[in-house]
Symmetry: C2
Subunit: 129 residues, 2 copies
């Protein structure tokens, strides 16, 4: 698969992946993929990441039901970062973060403090049964 060979994997065989919501343009999360997870993402049409903490393929939504349909995939100029255009499924409004929030980027720097600026939309305890 030639297109997979054009990706410049880091020394761990990974690359960072930005998931951006198609409808809103919101950046939902950044996770990592290895070669197998990128191939699986294209095959399924849903985001399959590499979990660095669990050291295994992580089909986003496999536990939460909050899977990500992938509409488009872009590679950057250095071929070492990927941008996904996704629809975040499983809840309305959409939840990408394991904390039950819309986006993982929910803390904003304000006067030298990381302030939480996004609400919890669903209790994580009821997401991960």
């Amino acid at each position: 698969m030639n297109w997979l060979d054009e990706v410049k994997w880091d020394r761990d065989g990974l690359l960072p992946v930005v998931a951006q919501e198609q409808g809103t343009g919101d950046v939902l999360m950044v996770a990592w993929m290895n070669r197998d997870s990128l191939a699986a993402t294209v095959e399924r049409g849903q985001a399959v990441y590499w979990s660095r903490s669990r050291q295994r393929l992580w089909h986003k939504g496999e536990e939460s039901g909050h899977f990500q349909k992938v509409h488009a995939m872009r590679l950057d100029c250095d071929a070492d970062v990927l941008l996904l255009s996704v629809t975040q499924h499983g809840h309305d409004p959409s939840i990408a973060c394991h904390t039950g929030r819309h986006s993982c980027f929910y803390r904003q720097l304000e006067n030298g403090v990381w302030q939480t600026v996004e609400p919890v939309l669903k209790d994580p305890e009821s997401i991960y049964r």
Copy 2:
């Protein structure tokens, strides 16, 4: 500076940083910061990255004039990725990529091929004099 201590730097002392254009929501680029560059970014109000290839602070725009004004800064749930909301200065329409394109994410996967889908807005030779 307490807020800097909350960031989880990787084993190289870096974290990936996503720059998103405030007006359009476009993801312009992903680069890296170390502690000094993040502190400098906040001090200047402009993006200062860490260049991994040159192993030095990289005040984005220092050569091209295409600097990035930073409006807001968000940290993700794992505290290991940063999202900047920026205005990309120096050219209209805005150019973030060293290839003279709007965004670094200009190659899209189409039928197993990375297709260039964004035009060069300005010849890089005339950007980097």
